[in-house]
Amino acid sequence: MNRIGGLVALGACLWSTDALAGDWSSFSAAFPLLPCQDGWMGCVVYDQHVDPELRRDAAGRAIPADARIGWFDLTATAAFSPFAGLSSYDGDSVAAAEAPEPDPAATPPTEPDGGTDGGPDDRHDAVASVEDDRAEQASIAADNAAANAEAARMARQAAQREAEEAAAKRKEADAAAVKQRQQEELARKAALDAQKRAAAADQAQKAQLDREAAAAAAKASEMEQARQQADAAAEAQRKAEDAARVKAEAEEKRRQDAERQKLAAEEAAKVAAAAKEQKAAEERARLEALKAAEVAAQAKSAEEARLKAEKAAAASNTTTTVVTPAVQDAAIATAAMADTGDCADLVKLEPFASLGKLEPATTACLETRLANAPKMTDKKKISGILMADAWAKGDKDTWETLIKRHLDEIDQSDPDLCYKYALHLSRQGPGRASGVIRWANVALENRMVWIGDTYTSRVYSLYKVRAAASQSLWMQAEDEHKAAPTDETRQKVEQYRNMTKVNAREWYEYAKSSGKDATTAQQLCMSAAGTADYCEAG
């Protein structure tokens, strides 16, 4: 009994040891060889090291390293990663070499004592040994079979575990794939939502921008309208101001025209009065001439009567003659006047006129003849004689009257006359400057009558005298403006300054082209223009 109990206890111990401890393969579930989700033995998840050793959950309880959630509290562990897939192993897989199984049939049985002799004891011994051998072999075989069965069972268990692990891993992989697909689906949906939201936001922004653009356009149009209105108002204001200015200018012009007309009327009245006076003087001269002619006729008849009386007295030998001093003087005067009162032959009168020896009767006769001459050529000749006589006598006033009448009423084609008259006027002061300019221009229009040096010198002189007259007008206007500056005086100053500038430049250009002295002309031009550029241009 004790032996049996001992065997049972030993067997129980052996069984319990096998049941409790067995070998390390029983704890393979607690110590997974590849705990990491990517299939590796070790890894770092966040800051936690994952390896085949036991891990601790939040409460400190031991759990396997490959447990994804805690056994007791179902909380996620470091190995819980639905996104990590299995990492690829690129190393060469090496198959573990299996140790060859010893062949039980090839193992010779071991002899207990070492040699046999073939007797009955030997046969008994042989039988016993054979039976012992058989029992031993059977035991060995049984052991081997048990070992093989155990190995097979272990292999089955290992295979089952591996299959379970593979299934679990497949399941996990499937779950991971499913989860990943779900995640991807979620991500796609999120992207779609984001896209929709972005589209909505773009539309909203676009709508906002459109609204802002519309508001800005409306504001711009309002501002444009306001600007147009302001421009229209300014335009209307400007037009009103222009109209007012035009009206004021027209008013001023009317006033100036009225003033000019008044002055012209006064001037015309003066001229008419002067003409009337001159006509009266001519009439008086004509009457005197007639009276003188009558007196001459009376004297002539008296002389004839005297001669007759003398003849009669001579015939009767009487020497009585009655001669009064007045009649005698009148006779002498008449004789003299008879010699000069005939103005029919103009050629004969020319030398007298050149010397200034024409008598008043002759002059009166010429005036009468001039007034009655039907041809302009006759008028021209008669006027020439009268002018020559007046100039030779030194009677510049009469000469001026005669030449003015000649140029205004008879003929302007003689540049010598115009030139002489312009020179004469230039010596009369600034008041005659307008006449100087006028008759200098007329002379220049007919300058082609001259030739050679006469042409050069007289044209140069005409330009000079005209420029000098312009300058005198300018200086006079400056003095008037200085004394009483007004817009009118300022305009007059500018007008005469421009006239001086133009005339001086023409003088300067002709002086340069004709080889005459151009210094004074240049100075005058620069003085009027204010700069040398105008005078030297062109």
């Binding site: 021209k380 002018m387 030139y419 200086m475």
Partner: protein, 134 residues
């Protein structure tokens, strides 16, 4: 005192921005009297500046060019003026602007146009002829 200095600095800075004034005085070279009808002009400027009729002076600190730009007178700037008057010879002067007391006196010579060679007595008027006298 402080506000005086402040006001003077403002005036000085404003004056710098507006240009340094330059005075041109135009005189008759013979009589040394001011020419009341004189005109001062810059060669590049269109305007003609009349002098004061009493003093014969013109004072300016800026010129307005035809293109609309402004020429402020600054220290060290060379200025060219053309001074003219009716009856006087034109004169161009160049003046370098100083910091202050910029006064230029320009004397103009009288212009004499000699008309002595033009005598109306020298012109003989010919009597007109229908037929020339042999």
């Amino acid at each position: 005192m402080t506000w005086l200095v402040f006001a003077w600095s403002i005036v000085a800075s404003a004056a710098d921005d507006e240009g340094i004034p330059v005075t041109v005085r135009v005189l008759d070279a013979a009589t040394e009297l001011p020419l009341p009808t004189a005109v001062v002009r810059h060669p590049q400027e269109q305007d003609r500046h009349r002098v004061n009729t009493e003093t014969g002076t013109w004072t300016g600190s800026v010129l307005y060019m035809p293109d609309g730009s402004e020429l402020f007178f600054a220290k060290g700037m060379p200025l060219e003026f053309e001074v003219s008057a009716p009856g006087y010879v034109n004169q161009s002067v160049t003046y370098v602007v100083r910091r202050r007391r910029n006064e230029v006196s320009v004397r103009l010579e009288k212009m004499a146009i000699d008309m002595s060679q033009e005598d109306p007595d020298d012109i003989t008027i010919q009597f007109g002829r229908d037929k020339p006298i042999d």
